[in-house]
């Protein structure tokens, strides 16, 4: 080890390396730093053994603790479901007409129903349940198949005009284009507009009344007020599923309409359907949206 003349008495030792007379001081890392570094390596090895770490072809090594964030979420969901088991059992067998009196259960049903509605129903009925053309508005007081809470639950369970449930609501309006002449249809349109309080041609409407009583009143009744057990809409009110103007009415009468809704009960759609408690929660939610009867 040669000492250069430039070196001072207090300088540390050199490493012995010398390049063109330039030497390197030997300033080792502090011991505490070094030992922390070694401890980190040991800890790191232990960590990769205990936790998922090394990437393999299919997936990473699972680690001896079998920890996974997905597993944690699954556990949490299972815990919530276990905690709600009692409420769900109560809800499945609840009498929906008196459910609002049980504030706690009703709140649970409405909150759960809100989430179920967003996931399952909002695609057609809209996130605010206001519906759209061909998809009924669930906020108003007009119901095709009845708006009391038990009927709503029935409709959700079995759906409308589907082949999943043998008990689904079913009715079919004929395409009157095959039965009536276009001129006759024009008179019926005028008559329907007259009973719903819209502007109309009085002469045509008078001519249409007879045809209406002959052809339509079987389902829509003589008064035109409709019949919920047949899913026949009330033609005298301000609410139209497809539209109340002459062009839309002409199309509806000529070609008929055939709206469908799936059966939601898991009884008819094993694996993807809703449990009894979920159906009841949805019914309670829809019923309290403002239109429930």
């Amino acid at each position: 080890m040669s000492k250069n003349d430039n070196n001072q008495p207090n300088d540390p030792d050199t490493t012995g390396h010398s390049w063109d007379g330039i030497e390197e001081f030997n300033n080792p890392l502090p011991k505490w730093w070094l030992w922390t570094f070694y401890a980190c390596i040991v800890w790191g090895i232990g960590y990769t053994i205990a936790y998922p770490a090394w990437p393999l072809i299919e997936k990473a090594t699972p680690g001896f603790l079998n920890y996974s964030t997905r597993g944690e979420v699954a556990d949490e969901i299972a815990a919530v479901e276990t905690a709600n088991e009692g409420l769900n059992m109560q809800l499945a067998s609840a009498d929906l007409t008196v459910l609002p009196e049980n504030t706690e259960l009703h709140n649970y049903a409405v909150q759960g129903g809100r989430a179920l509605f967003a996931a399952n129903c909002s695609q057609c009925h809209g996130s605010g349940a206001a519906g759209g053309v061909g998809y009924p508005n669930l906020l108003d007081d007009d119901w095709l198949w009845g708006g009391d809470v038990d009927t709503i639950a029935y409709t959700i369970t079995h759906g409308i005009r589907n082949e999943q449930s043998p008990d689904s609501h079913w009715s079919e309006m004929p395409a009157f284009g095959e039965i009536l002449e276009p001129e006759e249809i024009e008179t019926v349109v005028s008559y329907v507009q007259s009973i719903s309080g819209q502007e109309h041609d009085a002469a045509l409407a008078a001519a249409g009344e007879e045809i209406f009583l002959d052809q339509c009143s079987a389902c829509h009744l003589d008064s035109g007020m409709g019949e919920p057990s047949l899913g026949a809409p009330n033609l005298t009110d301000a609410i139209w599923l497809y539209g109340g103007d002459a062009a839309t009415l002409t199309e509806t009468i000529t070609y008929s309409r055939f709206g469908v809704m799936p059966a939601w009960s898991e009884e008819y759609r094993p694996g993807t359907g809703l449990s009894e408690a979920e159906v009841n929660a949805l019914a309670a939610y829809v019923h309290q949206l403002g239109g429930g009867q």
Partner: protein, 470 residues
């Protein structure tokens, strides 16, 4: 590398061993210590009846239920601006006192000063006065030193525990918590908090002491901007004291260089060096010097409270300005005005704030619903808040230029019962008859009213009704 050693940037703390002193300022500090510590330790144990549904602790920060109780005042989280207002008042008050009287807060009322004073008193009681403590500090570790140190730390731990314990009592029902603490049933958070606060109390009050004031606290730096030459603060009458000396031949000033003022100083400075950042103006040097002046038959006040302006006048043999002229200045009056304004605003806000609260959120999805008879209905989600300790009947109604009808979801009446301390959500429907102006215009103003039928308090919220534009 240079052979000359660079000066070290680290200076070890010079230990401070304040000597015992007697006098009016020391007396005042004892009284203030007793009062402030008394308030701190006793407050959580005061009771205040608020009815069965609410806690009966006079001062309680109820984090779990998000309430702050202060005697008859109850603050909800959204009223946190009251706390902000109190902090502003504390800040302005500090400015006011500093510009008038210097660091009186630091010297007498700051918790750091009070607890340090307490810890030093305990230390002196166990280990003896200044000289005994210096000897003990230098002594080798023998049985006596171990015994005294153990006694001192044991006493400090008791004080620290009481301090940390008192703090957690502000956050839970004190008697219940004390029972749980003693029977080891309290929540681990309570024990952890107590342990941390015990540790910090001993660390700050017992061990770090003046270092907290000098190195950790921002106030000594801020005070330089707050004080001026009219501020009444502690100083040394240099014109009277210098030159220092013990000769009695008339060639020396009044200062006999006895070091009494230095030995009693809790921050370890020499006040005769002039104004210093470290000085917390505790007044103990005044007591010490007055005692000596009395013994050597000289007038008191060699070290004293005075304004720097007066120092100049006195040096020239002129009388000092009267005290009130130092205190009543535009600056202090401005601080007082601002301080009072914030205070009055807060008191007014406290008394005019409504006892019931209503939040109205109109349903936007959809904005309106057409009913079968052609009428237009809007939906509003209304949240009613009952701040009382008992259930109250709240009646909802609306006023508007348009003939609108109000209806509540799930019931025929317009009155709802809201439980004590509850926020109650109610869906409300407002309907306009077919063909009316409101049904056919985009926006119609309307005002919801809520009335507490028990107290006849009323509150309102303005919103709009959306019609079906034609």
């Amino acid at each position: 590398m240079s052979s000359e050693e660079a000066p070290s940037l680290y200076a070890a703390r010079e230990p401070v061993f304040p000597r015992k002193v007697k006098g009016p300022f020391r007396q005042m500090k004892w009284i203030i210590m007793a009062v402030t510590l008394g308030i701190y330790y006793i407050t959580p144990w005061l009771r205040w009846d608020r009815g069965p549904a609410l806690p009966d602790q006079a001062v309680l920060i109820d984090l779990a239920n998000r309430r702050f109780y202060f005697f008859m005042i109850e603050i909800w989280p959204h009223e946190f601006y009251f706390v902000a207002g109190l902090l502003i008042m504390a800040g302005l008050g500090l400015f006011l006192f500093t510009s008038a009287l210097g660091r009186v807060w630091c010297g007498y009322a700051c918790p750091q000063t009070v607890w340090t004073d307490l810890f030093i008193a305990v230390e002196r009681w166990i280990e003896g006065d200044r000289n005994a403590r210096v000897r003990l500090w230098k002594a080798k570790w023998d049985l006596k030193k171990v015994r005294l140190r153990a006694m001192k730390y044991a006493s400090w731990i008791v004080i620290g525990l009481a301090t940390g314990g008192a703090w957690i009592f502000y956050f839970a029902d004190a008697p219940t918590l004390l029972r749980d603490l003693v029977t080891l049933q309290a929540h681990p958070v309570a024990y952890t908090t107590m342990a941390i606060l015990t540790g910090t109390t001993i660390l700050f009050g017992g061990i770090a002491r003046e270092q907290v004031c000098i190195y950790m606290c921002p106030w000594p730096r801020i005070q330089a901007a707050m004080m001026d030459e009219d501020t009444i603060t502690i100083g040394y009458r240099e014109w009277r004291g210098e030159p220092r000396g013990k000769k009695h031949d008339g060639t020396t000033g009044d200062c006999i260089d006895c070091m009494a003022c230095v030995n009693v100083c809790p921050v370890g400075i020499d006040i005769r060096d002039g104004q210093q950042m470290e000085c917390i103006t505790c007044g103990l040097c005044i007591d010490a010097c007055d005692d000596i002046m009395a013994k050597i038959g000289k007038p008191r006040g060699l070290v004293d409270y005075f304004a720097l302006k007066d120092e100049v006048l006195e040096r020239e043999g002129q009388p000092p300005k009267p005290v009130w002229k130092h205190i009543l200045r535009p600056r202090t009056m401005l601080y007082t005005t601002l301080w009072s304004a914030v205070g009055i605003a807060m008191v007014v806000a406290l008394f005019v704030r409504p006892e019931i609260e209503m939040r109205v959120s109109p349903e936007r999805n959809p904005t309106f619903v057409t009913m079968s008879d052609g009428s237009i209905r809007n939906t509003y989600d209304i949240r009613l808040r009952n701040k009382h300790g008992d259930p109250r009947p709240f009646r909802l109604s609306l006023t508007s230029d348009a003939p609108l009808r109000i209806q509540l979801e799930g019931q025929d009446e317009l009155t709802v019962m809201v439980g004590p301390q509850e926020t109650f959500a109610q869906r409300v429907y407002v309907t306009a008859k077919p063909g009316t102006e409101a049904a056919q215009t985009d926006r119609t103003d309307l005002r919801f009213w809520v009335e507490d039928l028990d107290s006849t308090d009323r509150a309102y919220t303005d919103t709009v009704f959306n019609g079906k534009e034609r």
